[in-house]
């Protein structure tokens, strides 16, 4: 078991290393570099040389990669080009904002998704299922930029209940941020919840049709006890991985929603730094997003391993 965890963590680091290499090589191959972008038409002669020296671009690429990597491991991603401030400081509040948005969506969305999924499965083909399933399919298919825009139109503009876009400084406190995130959270949660509810539904239906559930019924186990003891633990195991992917997706920035609501999160930072050709920031973002995906998936795998007795013993035996 321990060996397995260590192996998985090592694999995670290898993945991150490869991601960092790819982004580094990618930014190297692209025509132009930070200095030519920054200096624009003055990018020649003495000024360009000075810029190269200042940014350390005059040393060979592999040396730059090594020094960048060593710093990145310590949490230092260098300087952002556009604002000339440490990337660490740019990222900090953005990560916090994205976390706030994601956790709000998770805490609201996942319980609702589980309940809807279970209800639709247990009342399969009956009225609650038909009604909820229609709504979830709808919520799944409407793209978020449309649902987000509609939300702004109805709740912010017509009803004037909540602010339509988020106009706050990046480093605003949590309480001030709260009313601003209600609409983005709804927009994100709609899609996520719908996806997950359908997943949970099919998983529960599959388990309900299994022989061991039939056996439990024939054993005289009361309905709800059967649902909680025999059905849900087995039906929700496969859901863990889907939930993990969703969380990673949320943390990685829901780009479209953040842009529509002007929300200062990671997703918008990605767009901004790409359009500003702020390559150091793009690199830093790539590494951070990759580590989020890797670590959350690792966590999910370990959780399934712990919860599924079948996998646990199989691993031990090996």
């Amino acid at each position: 078991m321990l060996f397995l965890i260590i192996k998985r963590i090592l694999l995670g680091f290898i993945t991150l290393f490869i991601v960092s290499l790819i982004t580094f090589v990618g930014t190297e191959i692209l025509p132009g570099d930070a200095c030519t972008t920054y200096l624009e038409r003055q990018a020649f002669g003495e000024q360009l040389e000075a810029c190269y020296r200042r940014l350390g671009l005059n040393v060979p690429a592999y040396e730059r990669y090594v020094s960048w990597a060593v710093n990145a491991i310590q949490g230092d991603f260098g300087y952002s080009l556009s604002g000339e401030m440490p990337i660490k400081e740019v990222l900090g509040p953005r990560i916090k904002n994205s976390l706030v948005l994601a956790s709000a969506a998770i805490f609201i969305g996942i319980p609702i998704a589980l309940i809807l999924g279970i209800v639709t499965a247990l009342w399969r083909d009956k009225l609650p299922d038909v009604a909820i399933s229609t709504v979830t399919i709808f919520a799944m298919t409407i793209p978020e930029f449309i649902s987000a825009t509609l939300l702004i139109l109805i709740i912010a503009i017509w009803l004037e209940w909540l602010p339509g876009i988020v106009i706050v400084p990046t480093d605003v406190s949590f309480l001030e941020l709260l009313p601003n995130i209600i609409l983005p959270v709804i927009a994100i949660a709609m899609i996520m919840t719908a996806h997950m509810a359908r997943m949970v539904r099919s998983s529960v239906i599959q388990v309900m049709a299994s022989e061991y559930v039939q056996m439990a019924i024939l054993k005289g186990v009361p309905y709800w006890k059967m649902v909680f003891k025999h059905v849900l633990p087995n039906a929700l195991l496969p859901a863990i991985n889907v939930v993990a992917l969703t969380i990673a997706w949320l943390l990685g920035g829901v780009v479209v929603t953040e842009v529509v609501f002007n929300y200062p999160g990671l997703g918008r930072l990605v767009i901004e730094s790409i359009s500003n050709r702020d390559l150091p920031t793009v690199q830093a973002l790539a590494i951070i997003l990759a580590s989020i995906y890797v670590s959350i998936n690792l966590l999910a795998d370990l959780m399934t391993l712990m919860l599924n007795p079948r996998l646990k013993t199989l691993q031990i035996r090996k």
Binding site: Y212, K219, G220, V221, N234, L307, P309, R310
Partner: protein, 674 residues
């Protein structure tokens, strides 16, 4: 009056087809189960026997519904009872032992909890008492060290142990009626015999009534007092067990009993034509009409009613049962198989061992397999051209593994597989040339999985013809039709898809595909196990006919020893991947000399109430072959001493050409037989 425990009255269950028609799975079933009696319900898949058993618990599967009739238990109808009341009957008054305990035990709950759950629901015992009771129950079903078993998860037990847990779970509520749905199908022969013996013991010990549902007449014969034979959703014959098995007066049962291979008879039994109709197809007349030897015009138009014959205490649904009354016994005629093997050796396995061990990195680099205790070891078999050799043994005996290696699906670790004395086939698929691939073909157990559902029969059979012979156009077509006729399927099957065929027809297509490559050797992996009993004999007869026509060699793997007896010329008995005995099937079956062969053959269930299985050894399953000594030492009841644990036994030859691997001198082994 109160000696009747369950009464089924005019029960019909069915479903609505896509067109909105009502299709019946059960047609107007009426029967009674008495207290303390064991009733066997026998029928092929699709005959409605499981649906009937479930209905006796007031359970109707999703998609089916009750069209009419009642299932009365303690004079209340289970089929319209509220689920609250049903919960009090299920598990407490009527309990179920499922077919596949491996899938019927909830995977995330410990064994102890699952039994405890039944106790909590159906008894007023305190926690301490329940704990004691769990141990008692596990003891009763003869599971070793109950305390540790209770803490295990279902997947940590073997198939036989899981089935015992299911029995313990059912007994927890001390039910008055036990329903058993194919409780031993899927278990090894030896395990099966042990579980049946346990069930018999419980029936006597507790006086519980049992309803035993199975397709296996052999198992039914061992347990039941009365037998109900179902066909196409109807009861066709019902009566005392002995009469039904010895003197079946319904043509279907008669034919069925004739078509089951027996251990005592070498040769292929007569086959029954056709297969059971799909539900909803037969609108009028007798549903057995097409396959019956006695059918007349009357049978086609009017459905016979179930008629009670008082003097025989038997009910029968047939107009012509009287014709069978005069036949005192089922006279089984067998077609003796012709042994047309010549002395030319076609395949030779010498000192073959095969390992499933995962290759370590170093081994991968040097392309070697290192495993001191491989799954299959030291296999020496000489296969002659035109013979049928069968590999038998319990699951885990390595019989399928050897087939895979011959086919090239699995690399051998050591040893040589030689074809035709000089061609080396020890390599796997990638290293074989197309002709090496052509000469060996496989027929798999389950045609549902081995035939591509998106290909027509024509495409399926055309593939080997195109691949190996490059046939095209008219010639290809001619060959396909020719092959279809060889397997007794008409030309019109060409455009059908596998899902439009019955199980037997699908397997015929698989046979045609194998023969399309004009192979020298065909590997048959449990080819009849997925088929219904009445279809099995027909496929076996077909295989035999084709072999005689083409001079093909068969390597036949089956867990069904009676089938092996019927078709094979020679038998190789395997235990834990090691050979125990090799010899002509006549000798092996008549005088099983090796202790394991004796165990194996003793456990076979025959559809005859007078032949009881002999249980010689325990049915413990070993996970790995022993490191040293005889492979069978763990279960052998005749261990001679330390030598069995230390040395691999030598080969001994009998006069008739049997080779036996045992430390006991051959004279002594044979003496025991007499």
């Amino acid at each position: 009056m109160s000696d009747i425990i369950q009464k089924v009255k005019n029960l019909s269950i069915g479903f609505k087809s896509k067109k909105g028609e009502e299709i019946l799975i059960l047609k107007n079933i009426s029967t009674k189960i008495k207290k303390g009696e064991t009733v066997g319900i026998v029928g092929e898949s699709g005959s409605g026997k499981s649906t009937l058993a479930l209905a006796m618990m007031g359970y109707v599967k999703h998609g089916l519904y009750t069209i009419g009739g009642e299932c009365e238990f303690n004079s209340s109808n289970l089929l319209n009872m509220k689920s609250k009341d049903l919960e009090k009957i299920r598990g407490r008054k009527i309990a179920m032992i499922p077919q596949n305990a491996g899938q019927a035990l909830t995977p995330n709950l410990k064994i102890g909890y699952q039994i405890d759950e039944a106790l909590q629901l159906h008894s007023d015992l305190s926690e301490k008492e329940r704990e004691k009771k769990i141990s008692e129950l596990l003891n009763k079903v003869r599971l070793p060290s109950p305390e540790t078993i209770a803490l295990r998860y279902p997947h940590e037990l073997s198939g036989g142990q899981q089935q015992r847990v299911a029995v313990a779970m059912a007994l927890a509520g001390t039910p008055d009626l036990l329903l058993l749905d194919e409780p031993t199908t899927g278990l090894d022969v030896t395990t099966q015999a042990h579980v049946l013996e346990l069930l018999n013991f419980i029936a006597k010990d507790t006086g519980t009534s049992m309803v035993y549902v199975s397709h296996d007449l052999g198992a039914i014969a061992q347990v039941s007092d009365r037998i109900i034979v179902m066909y196409s959703g109807e009861i066709v014959l019902e009566g005392p067990s002995r009469d039904i098995l010895k003197r079946p007066i319904h043509p279907y049962t008669h034919g069925l009993l004739k078509s089951i291979p027996k251990l005592s008879l070498a040769g292929l039994p007569e086959s029954m034509p056709g297969s059971q109709p799909q539900p909803g197809i037969i609108q009028s007349g007798c549903s057995f009409f097409d396959r019956c030897n006695f059918s007349e015009d009357k049978c086609k138009n009017t459905s016979p009613q179930l008629e009670f014959l008082k003097e025989l205490n038997t009910s029968v649904r047939c107009f012509n049962y009287e014709k069978l009354l005069n036949e005192s016994q089922v006279n089984q005629n067998v077609n003796k198989i012709k042994n047309n093997s010549n002395d030319k050796e076609i395949l030779n396995l010498s000192e073959v061992s095969i390992s499933y061990a995962k290759q370590k990195l170093l081994d991968q680099i040097f392309n070697r397999i290192s495993d001191d205790n491989p799954t299959v070891q030291d296999i020496n078999i000489n296969i002659k051209k035109g013979e049928t050799i069968a590999l038998v043994g319990e699951s885990g005996s390595g019989k399928s593994t050897i087939l895979k290696s011959i086919a090239g699906l699995l690399k051998t670790k050591d040893g040589l597989i030689r074809f035709d004395e000089n061609r080396n086939l020890s390599s796997d698929l990638k290293e074989r040339n197309p002709n090496d691939l052509r000469i060996i073909q496989l027929i798999f157990q389950n045609p549902d999985e081995s035939l591509n559902p998106n290909h027509t029969v024509e495409e399926i059979i055309a593939q080997p013809l195109k691949l190996y012979f490059g046939l095209k156009g008219e010639e290809l077509n001619k060959n396909i039709i020719d092959l279809l006729q060889k397997v007794r399927l008409g030309e019109f099957y060409m455009s059908r898809y596998p899902r439009q065929l019955s199980g037997g027809e699908k397997q015929r297509v698989a046979v045609a595909r194998a023969f399309a490559a004009k192979p020298d050797i065909i590997l048959c992996d449990e080819v009849t196990s997925a088929l219904d009993v009445s279809v099995q004999a027909a496929v076996l007869n077909l295989l035999q006919q084709l072999k005689e026509d083409f001079g093909t060699t068969y390597i036949f793997v089956s867990h069904d020893l009676a089938v092996v007896r019927a078709i094979s010329d020679r038998v190789a008995v395997l235990y834990q991947g090691r050979l125990c005995e090799v010899g002509p099937s006549n000798d092996v079956y008549k005088f099983p000399s090796h202790p394991y062969t004796e165990v194996l053959l003793g456990a076979v269930l025959e559809p005859d109430p007078d032949i009881k299985p002999k249980l010689v050894a325990e049915d413990i399953v070993e996970e790995k072959p022993p490191e040293k000594g005889c492979s069978f030492q763990g279960r052998c009841s005749r261990i001679v001493g330390d030598i069995c644990k230390k040395d691999i036994p030598p080969w001994q030859l009998t006069d008739s050409g049997n080779a036996i691997r045992c430390h006991i001198p051959i004279k002594e082994l044979q003496k025991e037989q007499l």
